[in-house]
């Protein structure tokens, strides 16, 4: 078992004829993910790098049984691509696109609420279940199957912890990048709930960052519902207030959203706190008794 994606995942790539979409569709296929094809409106019926291309997501669902959408559509049209996938009944939508206007995501979130679809991201590296399916832009080769569930707002910092774990011979059940934007589809709490229920996951590594209150909400949920050990790191301890640190959502606004308050909340909830990001792998090893 694992969460969100596995061998049964059948991916349709929205924006497959774009540079990023084409490149990563091929990387996902190389990893062993079933990529059934892609969607680019107006290019339906063509073949791109061996992938069939459809005009609509609904066609990819009807003709190829797609059950997961991976989105590389440019920011101005990405929220619409999310809604199209949800309207086509795709249960899992992973949006990589960075730079979507907040107002578009507010509307897309509202649209999704009336469907059964789950959105991961946007502005995220995607989801990987090592050895089964890679649905995103992460380097597949650094991952190993194993017992640690990883959930993070950041991309490369997730690769960093995965690298530290794999070097110690500790694999991962599933790694989920929830994204660095202010409005995202799936929260820490949603992923924590899935990991808590997943029999393959023995420990959880949570990587937060400044801005918003997602880590505080995660802390509340951990205290009340998570029995598995949680190791947590929050980056941005040295970030100045009022400045956006790369991610649209990484900003200390009005004195709120600091790393210190998030770390306090997570520690009080029983998570094992990592202060030095170079120690993330070692700390997970310790809580696993390795």
């Amino acid at each position: 078992m694992s969460i969100l994606v596995d061998r049964r995942t059948r991916v349709v790539v929205q924006g497959i004829t774009g540079r990023e979409g084409a490149f990563h569709a091929a990387r996902c296929r190389e990893y062993g993910t079933t990529v059934v094809g892609g969607v680019t409106p107006g290019k339906g019926g063509t073949v791109h790098d061996g992938f069939p291309v459809w005009d609509t997501v609904a066609e990819a669902v009807a003709q190829a049984g797609a059950n997961c959408a991976l989105i590389f559509v440019p920011p101005a049209a990405a929220a619409d691509a999310i809604m199209e996938a949800a309207a086509a009944g795709v249960p899992l939508i992973v949006c990589i696109t960075e730079g979507i206007p907040v107002a578009d995501m507010v509307r897309a979130r509202h649209f999704l609420a009336a469907t059964g679809s789950r959105l991961i991201g946007p502005n995220c590296p995607g989801v990987i279940t090592p050895g089964q399916a890679k649905v995103g832009i992460m380097p597949g080769h650094i991952h190993r199957p194993g017992p640690v569930g990883v959930v993070s707002r950041s991309g490369t910092l997730t690769y960093e912890v995965v690298g530290q774990l794999t070097r110690r011979g500790i694999g991962q059940s599933t790694c989920v990048g929830i994204g660095g934007d202010p409005v995202i589809g799936t929260s820490f709490v949603d992923v924590l709930r899935l990991f808590e229920e997943d029999p393959e996951t023995e420990a959880i590594m949570l990587i937060g960052e400044i801005g918003g209150t997602a880590e505080e909400e995660a802390a509340e949920f951990i205290a009340a519902h998570v029995r598995k050990p949680v190791v947590a790191f929050v980056c941005g301890q040295t970030a100045p207030p009022g400045r956006r640190m790369g991610h649209a959502g990484a900003i200390i606004a009005g004195g709120r959203g600091t790393a210190a308050e998030k770390m306090r909340a997570l520690e009080a909830a029983g998570a094992t706190l990592v202060r030095n990001p170079a120690d993330m792998g070692a700390t997970v090893a310790k809580v696993l008794g390795r």
């Binding site: 920011p75 206007p101 409005v183 909400e217 790369g246 009005g254």
Partner: protein
């Protein structure tokens, strides 16, 4: 993106939110002429992006045109230092001359995104003129909130509830409800992330006026608002930040002496934290992104090294899409081209790491390589200290 108060007020006026009559000027003589046209008492306000201008002496009352000229002469060209500016302050290049009407009540009205609910929220408080964060901390019950429906916006009854919460009754109720709805309309139409009127005042004549206004726009939505994008004032930003934005780099200048270059925002923040843990101070935040080209690496390096405070550079990259050999290529080219004298510590991991390390070693350049990021941060901090001593 932030804009000036005078620009925000022009937008409010266009959206039927009443603002005091006023003119923006850049010479004392023009301030005098503006005061003559406005007649009576005026207020002269320094136009800089930072808040906290009042306490810093950036806002002055003038009883007549001659006093307005003197106030403008004092403000124009001064380095205004507030808690929100860099330590050296920011130069005042324009002042707003406005009519000063007698004020009976000061209120707060603001629209912003509620991230947890994923929809905008309107906040209203009778405690105007104070920072809303201070009110929220001290007297949370003094703030009334109404959330927009994600698709339908703010309903009339919600605007009424906000107006009642502001104590607007009788003749001010209808104008108050209209003002609230107009501010929300502006927030939505222009993709704001903050539309704040603080204070919103009731004048002695019983009229509502937006005495101060702050609008912040979603950078990601500027592509569909060329009129708003044109309001950007690069003079208010750090020149290195502006330079970096030209090359699609995320750069934020900080106050330390260890420059850092990282791929990915989270790892970049974590790298700053590591430098601090190693006893140093980061000179900047710099995220070159997931797929940086050797040219972007070169620009990033040049920008980073052009900060005179930087005494050592720490490059921390986890190669995924950005391959380590391409990083090495960019770093080697930049160091050669710039004839860089600064010590440089490189830590890289991930795709093609062995090739990248070999390229660095064979370049003959005095680059220090580190095997993990903790070691890299410690060595960079030690080198910066050595250089400073």
């Amino acid at each position: 993106m932030r804009i000036h108060e005078y620009q925000a007020k022009a937008l409010l006026r266009a959206w039927s939110v009443p603002v005091p009559a006023g003119e923006v000027v850049d010479t004392p003589a023009a301030a005098r002429a503006a005061a003559e046209r406005l007649g009576g008492r005026v207020v002269v306000k320094a136009q800089v992006h930072a808040g906290g201008r009042g306490k810093a002496g950036g806002i002055r009352l003038a009883d007549d045109p001659a006093a307005a000229e003197r106030a403008a002469a004092a403000l124009l060209g001064m380095q205004l230092r507030t808690p929100q500016t860099p330590p050296a302050g920011v130069r005042v290049r324009r002042v707003l001359v406005e009519e000063a009407a007698p004020v009976v009540r000061e209120l707060y009205l603001g629209v912003t995104l509620d991230r947890a609910r994923a929809t905008p929220v309107v906040m209203a408080s009778e405690a105007g003129g104070m920072e809303i964060e201070e009110v929220a901390a001290a007297r949370p019950e003094a703030i009334h909130r109404e959330w927009l429906h994600p698709a339908l916006g703010l309903a009339e009854f919600q605007a009424r509830r906000l107006a009642f919460a502001l104590g607007l009754r009788g003749a001010t109720l209808a104008p108050g409800v209209a003002l609230i709805r107009h501010l929300v309309a502006l927030y939505l139409a222009k993709d704001c992330t903050l539309a704040e009127v603080n204070p919103l005042v009731v004048t002695a004549a019983g009229e509502l006026r937006a005495l101060d206004a702050k609008l912040v726009f979603d950078d990601n939505a500027l592509f569909r608002h060329p009129d708003i994008a044109a309001l950007r004032d690069v003079e208010e930003e750090d020149p290195l930040d502006v330079e970096a934005s030209r090359y699609g780099l995320n750069y934020v200048k900080l106050t330390g002496d260890v420059g850092c270059m990282v791929n990915g925002a989270g790892l970049a923040m974590a790298t700053m934290d590591l430098i601090k843990l190693a006893g140093g101070e980061p000179a900047n935040f710099l995220d070159v992104g997931g797929g940086a080209s050797p040219e972007q690496i070169e620009h990033a390096f040049r920008i980073l090294a052009s900060d005179p405070a930087v005494k050592a550079v720490f490059i921390n990259v986890f190669g995924g899409i950005l391959r380590c050999d391409r990083l090495a290529e960019g770093v080697i080219a930049a160091v050669r081209k710039l004839g860089l004298q600064l010590p440089v510590v490189v830590r890289m991991e991930g795709t093609n790491v062995e090739l990248g390390k070999r390229m660095l070693a064979e370049s003959g350049l005095p680059l220090v390589t580190a095997d993990d990021m903790d070691e890299g941060a410690r060595r960079a901090v030690a080198l910066a200290r050595g250089a400073a001593a």
